[in-house]
Every structure is written in C-alpha cells, then in structure tokens.
C-alpha cells in the first residue's frame, strides 16, 4: 500500500502543477520555483523570486504596511487552526519586549509531509517569510523547530540557514532547535515550553488570549507554510494571493494526500478546489468510500460529499476540516472502523500524559474501538463509545483529546452502518486487510499485553 515517502513527495510536488496555468500566476505559488528548477539553493531562489522586500533601515511605516498586506490577503494559519495571520501578527506586535519568532516545522501529524517538502524544496521561501514577519514584529531572534527524529528535514533547514547567515537576507539571526519528536510537541504552548527549557508538553491556558512568552519576551509561533505564503504576499501583493482560491479562503494550500491512492504526496491546490478533484489527481486504487480530512485529530467525510470545495467553511458544513492540510483516502476495499481503531490507538499513545481524562480516556476509547473493529458482539459498544468520547472532549490542557473525540464521532457517523454490523458481531471482510495508514503508526488492533 503506498504511503508518502520522501521520494514520492518530491516527485508529486514536482509533477503536479498548481491549480492555475499561466507562468505569471505560477510565480506566486509555493512550489513554482521547485517545479521550474528542481533546485533549492539560494541563488536559484533569488533568480526566480527576486530578493524579499525587507525593510530599509529606519523605515518606520514598513511593519504596518507589511501587516496591512497580510491582512488584505486574507491569509490564515496553515498549522491547523486557520486563524487570521494578520491578527496574530498584530497581537504579538503590540506586546512589550522584543519578540521571538518561532517557525513550526515539527510535522507532528504523521500523515503530513508538507514541512518536509517546503524545507527540502523551497526552504528560502520559508526563511524569507520568517525574516519578514520577524522584521515586522521587531523580533530579535528566529527559531526554526524541527522534530528531533527528522534529520531529513533538518538537513534542508541547516543548509539554507548557512547560505544566508551574515547576509542582508538574515537581518534577524536564525537558530535551529530540535524539540522531542511527539505528536503534541508541535502544539504551540508545548513548543514554547521546550524553548523555555521545560518538558516540551502543552501547558494549561484557561485564557488563550494571554500571550506565550520565552522568559518575559513574547513569542509568535507560525507554521512553516504560513510563513512561506507571507513571503509571496510581501513580494507579489495581496491581490496576487487572492487571484487564486475563493473569497472566503483565498490562496493556495499544501495538501498531503495518502491512503488508498497510487500517487501519494504533497500537492499545492487552489483553496476551493473540490475534494474529489484533489483526490482524483492522486489516482485512488479503488472506489473511494470516505476521506479522513485534517489529519489524525481531524474528521472523516463520506464519499457522498466529494464535490465539497476544499476550504475551511464548506468542509465544516459536511463535517470535515482543513486542519494542517491532510487527506487520507479510504477506498471501498478497507474498513473504516478498523482504521479508526488504529488511529485512536496511535493517538492514545501520543498523549503527553499530563491530564487524567486523556491518559485514561483515550486508551479506553481505543480499546472500545478495537473490540468493535474485530467484531466482538456487544450491543452496548456504540453507546459506550459515544459516552466516553463525550467525556474526554474538551477536558485536556490542550486539544489532543478533542481531536480524537471529533475523529471518532465522525467515524461513528460516516461508518454508522458498518459500526452497527461490527457491534452485532458481523465485522466487514476488510477489517483484517493491511491498513492504509503510514506504517510507523500502526499497532496491533487489540493490545496483546
């Protein structure tokens, strides 16, 4: 079963043109330079995009002009929350003290490969965005965070940082840090905890408006893709960004497609492209039954909704989510209940272990799903699952349990008739087939201990 490997990612990133064709429009895309030159070096980057429009010394109106361009572009964060990027810039910009800008390239989502593609193929676009945002904030430090178990991503970052060091393209110094490789380590309060020499686990923030700090200085955490978009908006203008996508959700987005498809990989698509046409390009291996949207803490969407535009609002209407830009295709030759059980087991193991409802609740949910998946006759199974999922929802310091709750609820709805059959002791024939999920996350359905 194909899964997104580094080579596949590079190939598909290169082979699949963005959603529009003209050369001028292609220039303002994330992967255009890579498609044209297949080279990630600084000279190639500058030849293709020109220099980033960093502020001249003493230009006091530049930060506001930059923030205004980002605001006009309508860019939203691409790490999962889809929060307006300009609002985030302004919130931190107004706090006291010289901020730190953190580039989140943790790729904690196992089915995502976009950080890898960005930092291997177009690292300088990400670093341009980081320098621009840092300059707009008056930041004195940029920290790129790459998970400790990702030497492949690290290599691209280190090479690119060295190429710019000491030049006018690095007015704010860049350092690279390697927080622990864990699903929740990329959550922003967890990243900041680690940068504060803490354990790198999420913190409890009853009031999310309280800004995160390193020491006493404010921090702004942006996803790598978000920053790369900022570099394009600063160069080509908000209107070029808005020329693609929809009014509500402008621009392009990186989507990692995997699962039952012949060509898994990272695709740059215009926001608003239908789910079906995104998936069609990856050549499903059989009829599509459902799609996991938004990653492991995302939501299953039925194949009946494949004509839904890929964008936060339309997807929400059919129970889906853009999240960090992940689609996992489930064909009719796979079992949604078994895959959901595997997802839940993985997510239970990725809890930071801090909050009781997550520590005890997620394994209980995973157990319930595992017994359902193998077809243990239990008329109460679905009701108990629904109750447990409601119990964990919203009861952790971070949103890890909420994501699991959402994903499991969507499974019980999208695969409702399958779930009923499993609960009646009649599991579907594909329950024991190989999983479509990345091999690194697959554990036995029912724990042997």
């Amino acid at each position: 079963m194909p899964t997104a490997t580094a080579t596949d990612v590079h190939e598909s990133a290169a082979h699949n043109s963005a959603a529009h064709n003209s050369a001028a429009a292609d220039r303002a895309t994330l992967l255009g330079a890579w498609r044209a030159h297949r080279n990630a070096e600084l000279t190639t980057h500058l030849a293709y995009h020109g220099s980033p429009p960093l502020p001249q010394r003493g230009d006091r109106t530049w930060p506001e002009r930059f923030a205004a361009a980002i605001e006009e572009s309508g860019l939203t964060g691409r790490g999962g929350a889809s929060f307006p990027s300009a609002t985030k810039l302004r919130l931190v910009g107004s706090a006291r003290g010289n901020p730190t800008l953190v580039v989140n390239a943790m790729e904690g989502e196992p089915a995502s490969a976009k950080d890898k593609v960005l930092l291997s193929c177009v690292p300088h676009l990400v670093l341009d965005g980081a320098e621009l945002a840092a300059s707009a904030l008056g930041a004195t430090r940029i920290v790129v965070c790459v998970a400790a178990d990702r030497p492949d991503i690290l290599a691209g970052v280190v090479r690119a940082v060295k190429e710019r060091a000491g030049s006018s393209l690095a007015p704010v110094p860049v350092e690279v840090q390697q927080p622990p490789a864990r699903y929740v380590a990329g959550e922003e309060s967890a990243l900041v905890s680690w940068l504060n020499s803490g354990p790198g686990a999420p913190s409890w923030r009853p009031d999310k408006r309280t800004p995160l700090t390193i020491g006493r200085r404010p921090v702004l955490v942006h996803n790598a893709e978000t920053l790369a978009h900022m570099a394009l908006v600063a160069r080509y203008g908000a209107s070029a960004f808005r020329a693609v996508g929809t009014t509500d959700a402008p621009g392009t987005a990186l989507v990692t497609v995997s699962g039952g498809v012949e060509h898994p990989g990272v695709y740059e698509v215009a926001m608003g492209t239908t789910l079906g046409s995104v998936i069609e390009r990856t050549r499903p291996t059989a009829d599509v039954a459902a799609v996991l949207t938004g990653g492991f803490g995302g939501s299953w969407v039925s194949a009946a909704a494949l004509d839904t535009p890929y964008a936060p609002r339309p997807l929400a209407e059919v129970g889906g989510v853009v999240g960090p830009g992940v689609l996992v295709v489930l064909t009719r030759r796979a079992c949604g209940i078994a895959e959901t059980a595997r997802l839940a087991r993985y997510m239970a193991g990725e809890s930071a272990g801090q909050c009781g409802p997550c520590v005890f609740g997620l394994p209980a949910v995973a157990d319930d799903l595992a017994y359902l998946a193998i077809g243990t006759r239990d008329r109460d199974a679905i009701r108990r699952l629904e109750m447990r999922v409601a119990t964990v929802d919203g009861r952790g310091a971070c949103r890890h349990p909420d994501g699991v709750a959402r994903m499991v609820r969507s499974a019980l709805s999208v695969f409702a008739s399958d779930a009923a059959a499993h609960g009646a002791g009649r599991p579907c024939v594909f329950a024991n087939e190989p999983s479509v999920l990345p091999p690194t996350v697959i554990a036995p359905l029912v724990p042997t201990s």
Partner: protein
C-alpha cells in the same frame, strides 16, 4: 460579580474532594476526574466552592471571576 469553576487538568490527580463538597456542581467521570460545566456558581454555593478550592490537595480546583458578558 459571578464566579466560575475551572479545573486545571494537568494539576488534578482525582482526589475527588471537590465532588464530595459540591455534588451540585461537580460530577466525576469514570476515572474519578471532576467534570464541571463552566456555568456561573449560584450565590448560595459560592462559599462551598471557595472551600473546595482551598481544600484541593493539588490546588487544581479554581474559583475564578467570570470573564466577559
């Protein structure tokens, strides 16, 4: 000024004293961790809620002023 109960889920270790003192506002999940609904604490229970906050061995049970409208 109305108050609301918040539980710090990281600090909480399921001692359960809060649910004993305040069964009207706190229920326990199947693992013994408190569930609160975030609504305003009625005036006649504020004193008990204060005591629950003071008695929590982990200082995880918090009585806070309600924010916003």
């Amino acid at each position: 000024m109305s108050s609301v109960i918040k539980v710090n889920p990281i600090a909480c270790e399921a001692y359960g004293y809060c649910a004993e003192l305040l069964p009207e506002l706190v229920t326990l999940d199947e693992w013994g961790y408190p569930i609160v609904d975030g609504s305003a604490v009625p005036a006649h229970l504020v004193e008990l809620a204060r005591r629950a906050a003071k008695d929590c061995p982990r200082r995880a049970f918090l009585l806070q002023r309600a924010v916003g409208p």
